[in-house]
Chain length 233, copies 2
DNA sequence: ATAGGCTTTTGACCTAGGTCAATGCCCCGC
DNA sequence: GCGGGGCATTGACCTAGGTCAAAAGCCTAT
């Protein structure tokens, strides 16, 4: 892997825990890799041989039943960490939702390096705790929220995640953005069917809370009202 | 806190990462505490001032909406770790499902100690990664499984968790046990109503896969068949 | 033993969201 | 500009699970 200095996520990925010379050592172990939309990086149930940092793009973590039902159990944005360090097979698959760029390591090499660098492990722990909190919030959504509450929550979540990812550190969130997934995938994140997703989106559009200029684009026109729905109050 | 040597979870809690003298130092920071069923240790949304190890008993982590819907987002067994180290308010409440005993620390004291002990942090990281995997499996359940699949999964999960907790290291899981929760709480874990839980349990009983000698007790009579349902195959 | 207050079960009915089937829309290559 | 292959939307209908209400168990205290 070449130059961490110019890395887009240098200051936000777990690498930010490292001093320049340590960073150099880690860099030798990894390499940048392009991933195209739809490409799978890790298969569900396989031994997890790689871990990675996301530099650009969005990926999904997903689980399927034997009879083909799918649930997306995580959506990963730039600066997020991918993978299951320290042994274990991966209980979910990792697939690119958009074209993406990742900084990839073999698990063995990464594990070894992490053991020697407590600061890195500390950052990883904080990140994992945050992921866990997010997963639990999503459990509430999947267990107890209605379809419209789910859709509102997803739109706001994506707006926030894309916002805090974007270059300008000013934006706390975006009021206009492209969805990094299609309707089927929205359904798979929300535990809904594609038809229900579509119907709820048109409802929000008709209520003038959002606009949908094209398939992918979303404009949030009334964040306040959308938040009220999302909170399930 | 007095004597870690006689602690029931000495070898399974994160403390097992520590050498005897380190353990002594940690012990000085914490104390054992009894918690009675229904008692809340941490409130949802409060700053998380304590962390703890569970010694005996079972506790729930739960999230509620403004209008009173509740979702249980985690169930914690002996040797499990409770709390949100390193800042942040707790995004969920922690309440005892049964009478319990915990080994409790102020977050500040624990954080300080953890920073000095990479091995402890490593164990905590592994545990958090496991929790995250479990949470994601549960997201699949909440998003995509039917009521009977959910019930079957829960019964097997409790059987396994209680089994690996129990004294005899021989038992991989138990075929007979007391549920550490009532019907309402089962519903809150599974994203179902109390009536649906009850109906599905009687179905499993009528199909002779389980027996229910009294309110709390469960006997697994046909694990194979129950597993088939749980897998959603 | 008996009354009262629980949790749980059962029954009858309803509805949010799923299913199935068109239809529409957009993009791209010709 | 025209045709075809995907996605997305819309409509008509169905069902798993929710809701509401009533019984049935069960503990505990008297």
């Amino acid at each position: 892997m070449s130059n961490c200095d110019t890395c887009l996520v240098r200051n936000r990925a777990i690498c930010s825990a490292l001093a320049p010379e340590e960073l150099g050592a880690l860099a030798k172990l990894g390499r940048k890799q392009m991933v195209t939309r739809g490409q799978t990086l890790v298969w569900e149930g396989d031994e997890a041989l790689v871990v990675a940092n996301v530099i650009q793009g969005v990926l999904k973590l997903s689980v399927s039943t034997a009879d083909g039902r799918e649930q997306i159990v995580g959506v990963v944005f730039p600066s997020d960490f991918i993978g299951r360090p320290f042994g274990k097979e991966s209980p979910y698959g990792v697939t690119a939702l958009t074209d993406a760029e990742v900084c990839i390591f073999t698990r063995a090499a990464f594990d070894g390096f992490a053991k020697e660098h407590p600061d890195l492990q500390h950052r990883l722990l904080e990140r994992t705790l945050d992921e866990l909190d997010r997963a639990r919030q999503w459990m509430m959504l999947l267990g107890r929220k209605t379809a419209s509450e789910r859709i509102a929550t997803l739109l706001l979540e994506i707006s926030n995640r894309l916002g805090s990812t974007s270059c300008s550190a000013i934006t706390p969130f975006l009021d206009e953005f492209d969805l990094p997934m299609d309707r089927q995938q929205m359904g798979d994140v929300l535990g809904l069917t594609i038809e229900t997703v579509s119907r709820q989106l048109t409802k929000l559009k008709e209520a003038d809370m959002i606009a949908l200029p094209d398939r992918r684009r979303v404009v949030i026109k009334d964040r306040r009202r959308l938040e009220n729905i999302a909170l399930a109050a």
